[in-house]
Structure formats: structure tokens, C-alpha cells
């Protein structure tokens, strides 16, 4: 059951040597080697077709399943909102999702989620790691696994990107034993990665001169002895230059005004648009954060605002991916750390609730236009198709054609890609 993802494998090394060799040859005449090819339309089209990607909408705080994917109108727990029909006969969602309802033919609702963890930190951990946090054990996030397994080796863009409202940028610490290469790069406020513009006052000509001198110095040193690490190091500079050239990918103002309008003039709208651009350009994993759903007070007012904003951006995003033929290769996941209690508290709020809530998937190998799993009439327990974070994590990986039961080989340590005591939800995979 060994799965050869380790960088040290002979094939990988050989392919890399060839790749770098080819790049060096291409760069011999020109100033800079390689990496521009993703901007070529034909290559991009091929990429769109073959390369698998994942995008996660992380609804921080715990989105209410009752005000979104699994409404229970006219019951003691249902709250004030109605359920509306969708583009798929027989499936209803909350009236807060009118636009998303029209995209239901693409979606797969998972309504029987029970993760049995009502604390924010631990709930958030298990949803993105697919396992519970254990002392002495540490695991990579879904994003790191995706970057490691799905990212083409020669891409200039990072493979694992978090798009967050506010905050700074920089590299996260979420790849565990897969190594920092697969850690998330955060784009605070949707800004491009740090240090992607030349220092103040430096001209392109001076940059090019110093880079050329660096290359010549490297060439002389590498003539003495060439190793995998020197190749990796020198390549990282070419990758950096590629990233600077592709900086426009991060600039949503390059989009037509109509597109910006369709996604909604909100932070979330811009982040969704940015995510689409990133995915189109080959980024393997993007997480979009939407805050804050932790509605212990005034659950209904908050969800009215939040879910409505989400509805517009998300439905446009799904439709766009479908229109562009990217849905087959892109898995979309909407998750939270948990759902919210059926019981409505005295502050018109709902509290933490992990025993019967919903996660949504779309694209990749997932079945389309379906609702899997069932809660009882007032949503207090799962009565059919109960799944947990481990099942979901396996399923995400399977949905992008990975064997979630295989293992990474890290320095001779064999480490399972997903929790080996769990398994995928086969019924959700076409």
C-alpha cells in the first residue's frame, strides 16, 4: 500500500532533472527560463481539463444547517424562515438561499453529519484535518494534502492558498510532516503574496542584471557538483520570478465590471472571484473564509445577512465553474466547524451543535443534484446516512481521484493520507 509521493523517488528526480535541464536550455538564450507556459491559452485549457483542484468555503463560527441546507419550517426548531424548492425536484433549502437553489443540479448536500465535537478549536481542527487532534500526533490539513498530491511540480503559483478577509499574508504552519512547501500562503484582504514587487527604486533592468549575475554564479558552483538541493534552491528563484510575472492573477480589478457585479460588491464576492482566478491558473487548493456564524444571539438576523451575502457569491461561483467546464476537475466544499442547535435559546440564538448538521460538496467525482443523509423532523438527530469528518475527508480526496487509503512516505515513515480507521462515502462518488 506504499504510495510514492516522496520527492526522493528516482522517477521524480529524473523528471525533475529533465524539466530543469529543459528550462536551463530554454533560458540559455533568453534572460529568464521557463514557467511562462501556464499563461498560454492552450496549456491553460489542458490544465483546466486534467488538473484536479479543491476549493473550500469555511463558514467560521458554525453555520446553521437550519437556516441553510436542511430547513425544518413549521416545527418547534425551525425558526421563522421558509423552505423553497430548488432546481432539483424534491430538494428544498432555506429561503435564504434563493440563488444557490437554482444551482442545486450541481450540488450534493450531505445532511447527516455528526462530528461529535462542540468546541470551536477542536471542531475546526477535525473538519480540515479529517482526524481528531491527538497529543503527540499532528497531521497536515486538506489544503496541504491537496498541494502535495495535486500541484504540478513546475508551477510558479503556491499550491495552497487561504483567502481571508483582513489580516496579513505569509506562510501558515499547517502542512505538518509534508513540509512547509505545502503550507498555506495567506492572501490577507485578497492581496497578492508578500514581496512580489521590486524594492523601491529598483528598475527591471537592475533586477535582471542581478538575477543574471546570480545565475552565472550558480552555474559556476553547480558545475562543481550538482545535487537535488541545489536544483531546488536555484529553482525557487525562478519560481519567484514566475510568481512576480503572474502577479495579475491576484488582481480582481482585471475582471470585467459585470463579473464583479455578479459576484457581489462584498469582501466575499471579491474573494470568490479571486478564488476562481487562482483555480483557473492552476492553484490546487483555495480556502475562502466567511465570518462569523457563531450566532448565540440573534441567530436569525445574523443568518439573514450572512447567508444572503454567501448566496449571491457562492451561486455565481458555482455557475461560473460549471460554465467554464471546471466543475469536473474542481471539488467545491462548504463546511464549518459544526452546525447550530435545533433548540432556539432565550436570546433568539442557536448554540454549538455537531450531532446533526450539513456539509455541501459539488464537482469532481461527487454525484450531482443530490441530498444524502437525513435528519429527523425537527433536526435533532441523524436518522439516515450518518457520516463524520473522517468519512468526509476520505470522500474529498476520492472526489479528486486520489486514493485516500494510500500513504505518504516521509523519510521512511509511512503516513496514511487520511485516517486509516475511516473510509470514504461511496454513495456520494459517481
Amino acid at each position: 500500500m506504499k504510495c510514492n509521493y516522496a520527492c526522493q523517488s528516482a522517477d521524480h528526480l529524473l523528471a525533475r532533472r529533465r524539466f530543469l535541464g529543459g528550462m536551463a536550455a530554454a533560458g540559455a538564450g533568453a534572460v529568464v527560463g521557463g514557467l511562462g507556459h501556464f499563461t498560454r491559452p492552450a496549456a491553460a485549457a489542458q490544465l483546466a481539463k486534467d488538473q484536479k483542484r479543491i476549493v473550500v468555503f469555511n463558514m467560521h463560527g458554525g453555520m446553521s444547517q437550519l437556516e441553510s441546507w436542511d430547513p425544518k419550517p413549521m416545527t418547534d426548531t425551525g425558526g421563522p424562515f421558509r423552505a423553497i424548492p430548488t432546481s432539483v425536484p424534491g430538494i428544498h433549502v432555506s429561503e435564504l438561499l434563493p440563488l444557490t437553489a437554482q444551482q442545486m443540479q450541481h450540488l450534493c448536500l450531505v445532511r447527516g453529519v455528526n462530528t461529535n465535537e462542540d468546541e470551536h478549536g477542536r471542531g475546526a481542527y477535525l473538519m480540515v484535518h479529517g482526524r481528531r487532534q491527538t497529543p503527540g500526533g499532528d497531521y497536515p490539513t486538506l489544503g496541504a494534502v491537496a498541494a502535495k498530491t495535486l500541484m504540478p511540480g513546475d508551477s510558479a503559483l503556491p499550491g495552497h492558498i487561504n483567502v481571508t478577509p483582513g489580516g496579513g499574508g505569509g506562510r501558515g504552519n499547517d502542512a505538518s510532516y509534508l513540509g512547509p512547501k505545502y503550507s498555506s500562503i495567506s492572501l490577507g484582504n485578497g492581496n497578492p503574496p508578500q514581496n512580489t514587487t521590486l524594492p523601491n527604486g529598483m528598475t527591471a533592468e537592475v533586477d535582471s542584471a542581478r538575477q543574471d549575475f546570480r545565475r552565472r554564479a550558480n552555474e559556476r558552483f553547480l558545475n562543481r557538483r550538482r545535487t537535488a538541493v541545489t536544483d531546488l534552491y536555484t529553482y525557487s528563484y525562478e519560481q519567484a520570478l514566475g510568481l512576480m510575472r503572474e502577479r495579475d492573477v491576484f488582481d480582481t480589478t482585471k475582471e470585467p465590471a459585470a463579473a464583479i457585479e455578479r459576484y457581489g460588491q462584498s469582501d466575499l464576492g471579491r474573494m470568490c472571484l479571486l478564488s476562481r482566478r487562482l483555480l483557473e491558473n492552476g492553484v490546487s487548493f483555495v480556502q475562502v473564509s466567511h465570518s462569523n456564524y457563531d450566532t448565540h444571539n440573534e441567530n436569525f438576523n445574523f443568518h439573514f445577512e450572512q447567508v444572503s451575502e454567501f448566496d449571491r457569491s457562492f451561486s455565481t461561483f458555482v455557475a461560473d465553474l460549471a460554465d467554464r467546464g471546471m466543475l469536473d476537475s474542481t471539488l467545491i466544499v462548504v463546511l464549518s466547524e459544526f452546525g447550530r442547535t435545533p433548540n432556539i435559546n432565550v436570546y433568539y440564538g442557536r448554540d454549538h451543535w455537531s450531532h446533526a448538521w450539513s456539509v455541501v460538496m459539488a464537482g469532481g467525482r461527487t454525484i450531482r443534484g443530490a441530498a444524502y443523509g437525513k435528519t429527523n423532523d425537527n433536526g435533532t438527530e441523524v436518522i439516515d446516512g450518518q457520516v463524520d469528518h473522517g468519512n468526509l475527508f476520505h470522500t474529498y480526496l476520492q472526489a479528486v481521484a486520489l486514493d485516500s487509503t494510500s500513504s505518504f512516505d516521509i523519510d521512511g515513515r509511512e503516513l496514511p493520507m487520511a485516517d486509516p480507521s475511516s473510509k470514504p462515502i461511496d454513495a456520494l462518488l459517481a
Partner: protein, 954 residues
């Protein structure tokens, strides 16, 4: 002047290079560095160690011992130094520098904490602890003892508790990291089952280690207004476990150190385990601390895994890779590259009292450390006798098979003694449980009695107060005898006093009853105690037998490990030998193929010129053919025309003959017709005329036909000749094409064989590197990278001078201080500390950019675009590289002699002299920007800082 010195120094370098293999100066044959080299040579067969040049050595050793490269002045001085012992002098100078303790502290910080966040102990406090430990050259075993036994009290010192407390005092995490960091073994999987891939990690290894920490936890104590976190240890108990895979085999383990038998612990009946029992807001103190015992055991130097782990880690720090790599994966499918050498190092570091400075010194003095980075040709040329190696391997397979069988038998034996022990331990546990229950009842009774006594005492206090009041009230009533109300009140006091006395009596009776109730459980307890002790005694012989069996198992395991490691080494040696042989034949093939290229090229050229030459011949033939064809065509035309004319004349002649006959006949019938006669005459004359012409034409036609035949023959001859020429041309063209193909094939073969040879050479180089024959390319740690940038941009030295001036201002340097080594050292340490404090925030920035994630091994190299962007466009590096204050950028911008500028640049940034090509490159860069020399200088300094040669220690 400087030129002159540099010339001498280049000559010196050349001399070293020509000398090739340099034996390091050795004073004492028994010195560890000599023994290292001897053992290494014994392991390496015939392969030599080729020692690095001076510049390479100085950069390497400065980085390894001080965390930064030398200053340009140090390099110049070292290169010109002609004394034979200059390398050992340099090692001693660096070890005595104030940067050495800092570098070791940074190394230990990363090794011990792996960049975990400072949740409880601040980083400054922790670093201060490590730096002071290293300044005092605290032995490793003492340091480990402090780390493992710390509880977080101020005098521990508190910072030492960071190892435990900043891991949340979590037993599983601590067990895993103690296994990895102090024993070199990652046994995470052995938590639930024997290691599935790594046969020599048993579940018992994990649980044995876990038992030292299982009873530990985080403890929050209120100290005044503040809450403070401590590590609290309770009395430990035995753990039983069952594999998640092999159900049914249960094991019992108390604490055991890796590779050793279960610890014999003093026995305490329940309730007697503590000096200070656990209670609210109190740090408990068990009579027997397992952590103390662990620290004592490993510190004694008797545990091989512990000794070899630190030896291997220090080796890895200096050599760029461990003899076991990764350093936390010692196991027998990942054996040391040099098992005997690792054993020697482990023994010697323990024998030397775990003196890290002395150990580092010995490693740095060894030839192995000083080996060259460039792969010497002889290391790729040599191959051992494969057949002999295979023969030896056969024996090793047999011995490792035998050792494995012996281990399996010993393991079965031990499992059996464990199985015999378990029910007896269960009896003991039952006795203890029963005893604990009685103890609890007894304690409950004691508590009840004490509570009742307290009630009595409280009531008695009340009784005394009321009695006193009654007495006083009675006295008052007596004084005012008439006052009835007062008398009544006084009486009330008296009555109540009597009532309370009665109550006290009742309470006393109850208390006495409760006190009496202690006796029963107390007696029961005393009665039960022998039961516990007997049960305990009953386990003793079984425990002893168990330890004997375990010891045999451990011995067998160790023998198996050694045998398998030997087999593994042999396999590696065979692989290397095969690769060397392959390389040799690949090179022969490549050379042969390369030789074929000019031969085939010459043949192709010759064939092509022959084909080219024939083109003229062909043209001549074609022109002749053309001429013949034209002639034939002309002859054909002539024949055609004559035939036509002849035919016409013949037809005229026939018509004339017909007319003549008619006229002759007519004339014979009218003989005198003059007109007829005239006509007849005319006709006769015309007939004769035409007949002559026909005759003449006939002759001409015959001649023309003859000429045509000649032309036809000539044409046929030319045709044949052309066909021949065409054939020859085709032959020559084909020969040329074949020769070109052969040339291309030869070129392709040359390329393929060269690539095969190159790839084999790369692979063999990688093996030679792994086997420590040539120097490893070791990425600078984030700390080293930061200090190296500060050193070459002279930021470090500028800050140092600033701080030195501050210290001088506070306390001018006097001869008295200068002559006191201790005070001088303290002074330098102070300047170092101040400089460090000024710059340390940058180290943090480098650590977050270039360091691995928290809790992950920190030695794996990775290179990402964001790092490159940080170097390329980040504000800080660019500001340090800007020309200022006489730094390297400013110096080379002002130095118009390109050679001098290039020498300064390369000595400052890369610690070596430039080659001629590099000097020319520098000159060209300046020439391209004559008006902007500072800009060019900045490009050059940055270019070298961003180069691979800078990024690595080699």
C-alpha cells in the same frame, strides 16, 4: 602589498591542492580525532580521504562552531598563515569565541524545542538558560537531567522546565519527543502496536518510556494573585497494554529505558507513596520519582541509545548529515553508515563526561570533517572486488538469519514469563485495591472523628464563653439584688451554660464513638497489610525471572540489530562497488562512443564530398546525352523531310508517266498533231527531269537514313553511359546518407553513454557523500543564514563595535581585566549578549521564513518561492546590501581595480578568492554601468548572497 600577500596565498593553496591528501597534524595517537580517522579508514576500504583547501575549511568550521562565516580579515590571515597547526589553532580560537556558546544554544534550542511556541516559558529566559549552560560548557547528561527533572520552580532553574511544560506536560507528546530527541528513536506507531515497518521498535519500548511520564501533568498553582504553571509528578503505576493488531498477548510494563530491562522500583503500600501527597494548590512529591530515575540512568552514560543519539546529532551538526540519518530514526532498516564508528563515538562521548565542547573539537580536527567538497576523481574511479564482497555477504546473511531466529525465540520466552507474571500481578493489584478501600474507610473514619473532635472543641469554646458570661451576670445580679429582670437574665445565662455543657458532653460521647470507630478499619488495614506485602513478595521472583528473560531478549535484539546492520552495510558496499564498476564501464563506453564521433564524422564528410564531386561528372554526362539526343532528333527530322520530298517527287513522276502514256497514245492516233508532238516532247523532257530528281532524292534519303542510324547508336551509347553515371551517383548519395546517419548515431550514442556515465557519477557521488567521503551540502539553518547575512554585510560587526563601545564607556578595559581570562571572557560574553539582543528579532523573522513547522524535524531542506521573494524584494536584505559605512558594497563600488574589487567581494561574501572567470565577470558588470558603480556593486553583492554557494555550508 596586498597583491603580494594574495599571490603567496594562492601559491599556498596550489601547494595544498597539489599535495592532495593531507594528513592532519596529530599530536597524540590516542586522541579521539585520530581514532575517528582510523575507524573511518577501516570502514572505507581503500578509499582515501582528500582534505579540503584552507578557504573551504575555514568557512565550514566557522559556520559550524560560531554560526557565521569568518570576516574577510580572518580569511586573509588564515590563508597567509604558514604554520602547520593553523587548523587546530583556528578550531580552538573559534571554540573560545563568545559566539560558540550562542551557536550551540541555538542548535540545542532547535533540537530540543523544534520551534514550538513559547506557551509558558519566554524565549529569552530559555535562551539565557541554554547560553549560560554552554558558556559553562555544561555536560550534556547534566543538561538532560535538568530538563527531565525540572518542575518549573525558580531554582530548577525554571527555564529548564520548558522542555516539559511547553509540551503541555502531555505524557504522549513528551514520550514521543524524549524517544526522538534523547534516544534517536521515533516510536509513535509503537504506541498502539509493535512498529509495522521497523521491526525493532516494540510496543514495550514505547510504554516503558511512557511509564516515566504517564503520571505527570500540568499543574496551575496560585501564588499570591498570580497563577503559575508547573510540571507535577505523581507516583507512577504499572501499565498494561494490548496490541491493536495482536490481540490476546498482554504486556505489563513499569518504566524501562530503551534497550534495558524493566526498572526495579521500591514498593510502597497504598497511602505511603508520597513525601508530599497531592492536595489543593500543592506540588506533590512522590517518594520515588521515575523522572529522577530516568535522568539518573541516562546521565550515568550506560545507555547506548542515549550516548549514540547525542554523538550522532553532534556529528550531524558538523558533518551535515548523521551517521544515522534522519537523526531520530535509528532502527535496523536504517542502520548507521558506519556502525563501528558510531559505537566508538557513543562510547567516547560518554567516557569524556558528555563534554560537548571537547567532542566538537575532536570531530572538527578529524580528517573526515576536513574532507573536500569537490568529488576527487579517485573516489569515482575505484571499485572493490564485488565477488569477494558477495562471498562475505553470504556469511552475513547466515549470521543475521541466525540472530533473527535467536531474537524471536528470546521474545517468545519473554512473552511466556510475562504471561506467568500477569496473574500474580493481578493478585497484587486486587490486594492493593482491597487495601486502598480499607484505607479509604479508615481515613473516612479518621476524618469523621476529627470532625467530631472539632465540633466538641468549637462547642467547648462556646461553653467557656457562656459560662464566663453567666458568672459575670450572676455577679451583676448579686450587686443589684432587687433587680428581678436582671436576676432572671442571669439565671438564663446559667441555664444556657448548663445546657451547653450538656451538649458538649453529648458531642464528646459522639466523638469518642467516632474515634472508637477508627479502630475497626485500622485493625482491618493492619490485617490487610501483610496480604499486600505477601502478594508483592510473590511477584518478586516472577519479576526477576521476567527481567532475566527480558535481558536475554534485549541482548538477542541488540545482536540481531548488529548483524542486520552489518548485512546492510555490506549491501551498501556492494551497491557502491557495483555502481563504481558500472561507472567505469559507462565511462569506457562513453569514451569509445566519443572516439567514434570524429571517425564517423570524417567518414560522413568524405562520403559527402565524394557525392558532391560526382555532381560535375553527372552534369557532363547529362550534357553529352543532351547533345546526342539533339543530334538524333535532327537526323530524324532530316529523314522525315527527305522522305516527304521524295514521296512528292515520286508521285509527280507517276503522274507524268501516266500523262506521257496518254499523250503517246493520242499522238500515235494523230501523229501529225504538232501540238501533241510538242506536248509529247515536253512531257518526255519533264519525265526525264523528274526521274532524275527522284533518283537524287532517293540517294539523299538513303544518306540521311544512314546518318540517323549513326545518331541512334550514338544516343543509345550516351544513354547507357548516363544510366551508369546515375547509378554511381545514387551509390555515392546513399553512401553519404549512410555515413551521416552513422555519424548521428555515433553522436547520439556518445550523448547517451555520457549521460549514463554522468548519472552514474552523480549517483556514486551521492553515495560517497552519504558515506562521508566527500563533504555534504548542508543548508544553513535559519539562524546561520541570518547571522551569515549579518556577517557578510558587516551589520554584525558594526553592532558589535557599537556595543563594545558602550561596554567600554561603562567599564574601560584595564590591564587588570585584560590579564584576567575569566573577566575578559565575561566582558566578551556581555558584548555578545548585547549585540545578540539588538539583532535577535531578525533571527525570528528568518526562522519563520526558513524554518520548518513547529514540532517538525528542523533539518529537512526546503526552498520556496516566498523565501526567494523575501531575499529578492524584502526590505531588510536590500537595506543591508546598500552601500554604507565602508561595507563591502561601498568598498567595491569605490575600488576601480576590478581584480581587487572581485577579491574583496569573494573573500567577504563567499570566504574564498575568485577565479579568473569570476574576476572577468565582476569587471564586466562594472563596465556595463560605468556611471552607476554603486548600483552594480549592489547587484554583485546581492547576486552572491542569493547564490547557492552562499545558501549552503559545504
Amino acid at each position: 602589498m596586498r597583491r603580494c600577500r594574495l599571490t603567496r596565498l594562492v601559491q599556498g593553496l596550489l601547494a595544498v591542492a597539489l599535495l592532495g591528501i593531507v594528513a592532519p597534524a596529530t599530536a597524540d595517537d590516542s586522541a579521539l580525532h585520530t581514532r575517528i580517522d582510523q575507524q573511518f579508514a577501516a570502514d572505507s576500504g581503500t578509499l582515501p580521504i582528500v582534505v579540503a583547501g584552507d578557504a573551504e575549511f575555514l568557512r565550514r568550521v566557522s559556520l559550524d562552531l560560531t554560526g557565521m562565516p569568518p570576516t574577510p580579515a580572518e580569511v586573509r590571515e588564515f590563508l597567509t598563515d604558514q604554520t602547520p597547526e593553523k587548523r587546530s589553532s583556528a578550531v580552538d580560537r573559534l571554540l573560545a569565541s563568545p559566539q560558540y556558546p550562542r551557536r550551540m544554544a541555538e542548535f540545542l534550542d532547535v533540537t530540543l524545542m523544534e520551534r514550538r511556541p513559547n506557551t509558558v516559558i519566554p524565549q529569552d529566559e530559555w535562551m539565557a538558560y541554554l547560553v549560560q549552560s554552554m558558556r559553562a560548557n555544561k555536560p550534556w547528561n547534566q543538561l538532560v537531567r535538568e530538563l527531565l527533572t525540572a518542575e518549573g520552580a525558580d531554582d530548577d532553574p525554571r527555564a529548564a522546565a520548558r522542555f516539559l511544560i511547553d509540551r503541555g506536560s502531555e505524557p504522549n507528546l513528551i514520550t514521543r519527543d524524549v524517544g526522538r530527541i534523547f534516544f534517536g528513536r521515533d516510536m509513535q506507531c509503537a504506541q498502539c502496536h509493535d512498529h509495522p515497518l521497523i521491526d525493532d521498535y516494540l510496543q514495550v519500548d514505547y510504554h516503558g518510556l511512557f511509564a516515566f511520564f504517564a503520571a505527570g501533568s500540568e499543574l496551575k498553582l496560585k501564588i499570591g494573585e498570580n497563577e503559575r504553571i508547573f510540571y507535577a509528578e505523581r507516583a507512577g503505576s504499572d501499565a498494561q497494554f494490548e496490541s491493536v493488531f495482536v490481540k490476546g498477548i498482554r504486556h505489563l510494563t513499569g518504566p524501562r529505558v530503551l534497550g534495558e530491562v524493566e526498572l526495579a522500583e521500591p514498593f510502597f503500600v497504598p497511602g505511603e507513596e508520597y513525601n508530599v501527597p497531592p492536595a489543593d494548590n500543592t506540588r506533590p512529591e512522590p517518594k520515588f520519582s521515575r523522572r529522577d530515575k530516568l535522568a539518573e540512568l541516562v546521565a550515568s552514560g550506560g545507555n547506548r541509545a542515549f550516548n549514540e543519539n547525542i554523538a550522532n546529532r553532534i556529528w550531524a551538526m558538523l558533518m551535515g548529515r548523521g551517521l544515522v540519518q534522519p537523526v531520530d530514526l535509528h532502527h535496523f532498516s536504517n542502520p548507521p553508515t558506519h556502525p563501528a564508528l558510531l559505537q566508538l563515538l557513543g562510547e567516547q562521548i560518554a567516557a569524556g563526561g558528555f563534554d560537548l565542547r571537547a567532542f566538537v573539537r575532536e570531530l572538527a580536527l578529524s580528517s573526515v570533517y576536513q574532507r573536500t567538497y569537490d568529488v576527487p576523481p579517485e573516489l569515482l574511479a575505484q571499485s572493490d572486488d564485488i565477488a569477494a564482497l558477495e562471498q562475505q555477504r553470504h556469511e552475513l546473511v547466515q549470521s543475521s538469519d541466525a540472530a533473527t531466529m535467536a531474537f524471536n525465540a528470546a521474545l517468545d520466552q519473554w512473552n511466556a514469563t510475562q504471561a506467568a507474571l500477569l496473574p500474580v500481578v493481578a493478585e497484587l493489584d486486587a490486594a492493593r485495591t482491597k487495601y486502598s478501600e480499607i484505607l479509604k474507610r479508615r481515613d473516612d473514619a479518621r476524618k469523621a472523628a476529627a470532625d467530631a473532635e472539632a465540633q466538641v472543641a468549637a462547642r467547648q469554646t462556646v461553653a467557656a464563653t457562656v459560662a464566663e458570661a453567666a458568672t459575670k451576670a450572676q455577679a451583676a445580679a448579686a450587686a443589684l439584688a432587687q433587680d428581678q429582670e436582671l436576676a432572671a437574665a442571669a439565671q438564663k445565662f446559667v441555664d444556657r451554660a448548663a445546657q451547653i455543657v450538656a451538649e458538649v458532653e453529648t458531642l464528646k460521647a459522639a466523638a469518642a464513638e467516632k474515634t472508637a470507630a477508627i479502630a475497626a478499619p485500622q485493625a482491618e488495614l493492619e490485617a490487610a497489610r501483610p496480604g499486600v506485602e505477601v502478594a508483592q513478595q510473590k511477584t518478586e521472583p516472577l519479576r526477576t525471572a521476567d527481567r532475566v528473560a527480558e535481558d536475554s531478549m534485549n541482548t538477542a535484539r541488540s545482536a540481531m540489530r548488529t548483524a542486520i546492520a552489518a548485512l546492510n552495510s555490506q549491501d551498501e558496499r556492494i551497491q557502491s562497488a557495483k555502481l563504481a564498476a558500472e561507472l567505469t564501464s559507462a565511462r569506457v563506453a562513453a569514451a569509445a562512443a566519443a572516439e567514434q564521433v570524429p571517425v564517423k564524422t570524417a567518414e560522413a564528410t568524405s562520403a559527402a564530398s565524394q557525392a558532391a564531386e560526382f555532381v560535375a561528372v553527372m552534369e557532363e554526362e547529362q550534357s553529352q546525352m543532351q547533345t546526342a539526343a539533339e543530334r538524333l532528333a535532327a537526323a530524324n527530322v532530316a529523314v522525315e523531310q527527305l522522305t516527304q520530298t521524295h514521296l512528292q517527287q515520286a508521285q509527280s513522276a507517276t503522274a507524268l508517266a501516266t500523262a506521257l502514256a496518254v499523250v503517246t497514245n493520242a499522238q500515235s492516233q494523230s501523229p501529225d498533231d504538232t501540238a501533241l508532238k510538242q506536248a509529247l516532247d515536253l512531257l518526255q523532257s519533264r519525265t526525264a527531269e523528274v526521274g532524275g530528281a527522284v533518283q537524287s532524292l532517293k540517294t539523299q534519303l538513303d544518306t540521311a537514313v544512314a546518318a540517323r542510324e549513326t545518331a541512334t547508336t550514338a544516343y543509345a551509347a550516351e544513354q547507357a553511359e548516363l544510366a551508369g553515371a546515375q547509378f554511381e551517383k545514387t551509390r555515392r548519395d546513399e553512401a553519404a546518407a549512410a555515413a551521416t546517419l552513422a555519424m548521428q548515431t555515433a553522436q547520439a550514442a556518445a550523448e547517451t553513454t555520457a549521460a549514463t556515465a554522468e548519472s552514474a557519477a552523480d549517483d556514486l557521488s551521492a553515495r560517497r557523500t552519504r558515506d562521508c567521503q566527500v563533504a555534504e551540502l548542508e543548508p544553513l539553518s535559519p539562524e546561520e543564514l541570518c547571522w551569515t547575512v549579518f556577517r557578510v554585510t558587516e551589520v554584525y560587526d558594526r553592532y558589535w563595535q557599537g556595543q563594545a563601545a558602550e561596554v567600554e564607556k561603562a567599564q574601560p578595559l584595564t590591564d587588570e581585566i585584560r590579564n584576567d581570562p575569566a573577566r575578559m571572557a565575561a566582558r566578551n560574553y556581555e558584548i555578545e549578549q548585547r549585540t545578540y539582543d539588538q539583532l535577535k528579532s531578525n533571527v525570528g523573522a528568518y526562522a519563520s521564513m526558513f524554518g520548518n513547522g513547529a514540532g517538525q524535524p528542523q533539518t529537512d531542506f526546503f526552498a520556496t518561492a516566498d523565501q526567494a521573494l523575501f531575499v529578492a524584494n524584502g526590505g531588510s536584505i536590500m537595506s543591508w546590501v546598500a552601500p554604507a559605512g565602508g561595507n563591502i558594497t561601498e568598498r567595491i563600488a569605490n575600488e576601480t581595480d576590478s581584480r581587487k574589487a572581485a577579491e574583496d567581494l569573494y573573500l567577504s561574501v563567499l570566504t574564498r578568492l575568485p577565479t579568473e572567470a569570476e574576476i572577468a565577470d565582476v569587471a564586466a558588470c562594472f563596465a556595463a554601468k560605468p556611471a552607476e558603480r554603486p548600483v552594480a556593486a549592489q547587484e554583485l553583492v546581492w547576486g552572491l548572497i542569493a547564490s547557492a554557494e552562499f545558501r549552503f555550508n559545504h
